[in-house]
């Protein structure tokens, strides 16, 4: 479904990821793990069009994405939830969700995915009229995912969804990711919390200093003695 081929992205001459290749198949949950600065966020930005890769190709369902404008990439069916969520802070929860369905504004059923969003995150329904900035960190993450779902993605990309969230909600969000996959979407998730991420993922990649260090089925990576020692602290 998604194929990233030897993508190199640099910021002002500083190479953040170097010849990274990953594949995501339809219906999978793929976890990209690694330490801070390994290039995980850059990888997602390069796919979403928020950063322009210096070389390499990104293909989504046969369509070349590299070089495409970011808002066009969203329209191809990729929803990207960045690390800092980027909600519209002074707009209400309702308006944030409504903006998610902007691409379907002529559509009678534009609010279609709203049922799924409220099933996953009932709290959002209680807070519809509240400004996004008044939500807790966890609720903001839920709203960011909710807004992304409103774009009706086939591929959902999450950057560190657990960041800045209390532990109880982290679990809720990871459970939601599983249910999003069960609803027919594909999920690419970038995380520093490797243990939780590997638990829900089908396959995983480990990035280190901008390169793919290891890849394989999540269970296999979880069982790898080096990974256990270096990343999982076991």
């Amino acid at each position: 479904m998604l194929s990233v081929h030897e993508v190199t992205t640099a910021y002002q001459g500083l190479v953040a990821i170097s010849a990274v290749s990953i594949n995501v198949e339809k219906g999978e949950i793929v976890c990209v793990a690694g330490a801070n600065g390994a290039g995980k966020s850059t990888l997602l930005k390069s796919i979403a069009g928020a950063e322009r890769p210096r070389s390499g190709t990104v293909t989504f369902d046969g369509k070349r994405l590299d070089g495409m404008a970011q808002h066009h990439i969203t329209a191809t069916g990729i929803a990207y939830v960045p690390e800092n969520r980027r909600l519209f802070p002074r707009l209400s929860v309702r308006d944030n969700l409504r903006l998610g369905s902007y691409l379907y504004r002529g559509d009678a059923n534009r609010e279609g995915p709203l049922d799924l969003v409220f099933t996953l995150f009932p709290r959002l329904q209680e807070r519809l009229e509240q400004r996004a900035e008044t939500l807790s960190g966890g609720e903001q993450q839920m709203l960011a995912i909710g807004r992304a779902l409103m774009t009706r993605p086939r591929l959902l990309m999450l950057d560190e969804p657990s960041q800045g969230i209390m532990p109880k909600l982290v679990d809720e969000i990871f459970q939601a990711v599983k249910r999003i996959r069960d609803a027919g979407m594909t999920v690419l998730i970038v995380e520093q919390r490797m243990a939780e991420c590997l638990e829900i993922a089908d396959r995983a990649y480990i990035l280190q200093t901008g390169r793919v260090l290891m890849q394989g089925p999540a269970a296999e990576i979880r069982g790898n003695p080096d990974v256990r020692k270096a990343y999982l602290g076991l």
């Binding site: 909600l87 519209f88 409103m150």
Partner: protein, 277 residues
């Protein structure tokens, strides 16, 4: 008059609120709208009442084009983006003024014998000039329309979202450049409306925009930077202050009151009457 100041200032505040860019060519937009009205009247005998929407449409196109052709590139500057923007729009103002002198000459023009020009209406014994009265109505209608547009439509919501975080709208598939161009177009259309009405009771010459632009900046600052509602309310305040000053002081000093009130507000409440910053 205050409502017309408000209308001019709303255009300025809309653009500033949307993208933190001050359009220093705003007065020249007004000047051009007045000339558009003048030429439509002189050559095609279209009364300003009817040509106002045409002037608004012309200025919408101009505003959007200025964003797409000039400001968009000015914003890509690697350093000192603020300065680059100021000089880009300021330079545009000078170019527009120069071109107006070249093509329209420096002569003072006017739109004589328009339907409303020079006529008055008596309300409870007070004579009110019709053009200004009509201008006030148009300003209120335009502001109401803008309010509904921003609050009720998807484009309006996109405008608000872009104002909040232009970097995030692509996440929901919105092209920020289109929204910015729309914002500039709307700002232009509002000042275009104001220009069409002002052409009926004000002389038209290449520098006419400067004095009104200055008042518009004061109005925006008074109302609170970036607040569209504040700009409109600020316009009313400025109009009232100007009228009151003209009663007390000689008419040639009528602007003094505006700047005095402005200084007062800046001292006491630097963010403006309705500012949130």
């Amino acid at each position: 008059m205050g409502l017309l100041y408000g209308l001019i200032a709303v255009g300025l505040a809309l653009i500033f609120g949307l993208m933190d860019v001050v359009n220093f060519a705003h007065g020249e937009f007004l000047m051009l709208a007045m000339y558009v009205t003048f030429f439509l009247f002189t050559f095609f005998a279209i009364d300003p009442l009817l040509s106002a929407p045409l002037a608004a449409a012309a200025l919408f196109v101009l505003g959007a084009a200025v964003y797409l052709v000039i400001v968009r590139f000015a914003m890509r500057a690697k350093a000192n983006v603020g300065m680059v923007q100021i000089f880009a729009t300021f330079g545009l103002a000078i170019v527009m003024r120069g071109l107006a002198q070249l093509f329209f000459t420096a002569d003072y023009r006017s739109v004589p014998n328009s339907w409303l020009g020079g006529k008055t209406v008596s309300v409870a014994g007070i004579y009110l000039p019709q053009p200004q009265l009509f201008g006030a109505l148009v300003a209120i209608a335009a502001f109401g329309g803008l309010y509904l547009f921003i609050n009720r439509t998807d484009f309006g919501r996109a405008l608000e979202a872009t104002r909040e975080d232009p970097g995030a709208v692509a996440l929901v598939g919105i092209d920020k450049n289109r929204v910015f161009a729309l914002g500039w177009g709307l700002g232009g259309a509002l000042v275009g409306l104001a220009g069409a009405i002002m052409a009926t009771f004000f002389y038209i010459y290449p520098d006419v925009g400067a004095s009104f632009a200055l008042i518009a900046y004061v109005t925006v600052a008074l109302g609170g930077f970036g607040s569209v509602f504040g700009a409109f309310a600020g316009g009313i305040v400025v109009g009232l202050v100007e009228a009151t000053t003209a009663l007390i002081l000689p008419p040639s000093l009528k602007s003094v009151g505006i700047y005095a009130v402005y200084l007062l507000v800046v001292f006491i409440r630097p963010r403006g009457l309705f500012g949130s910053m």
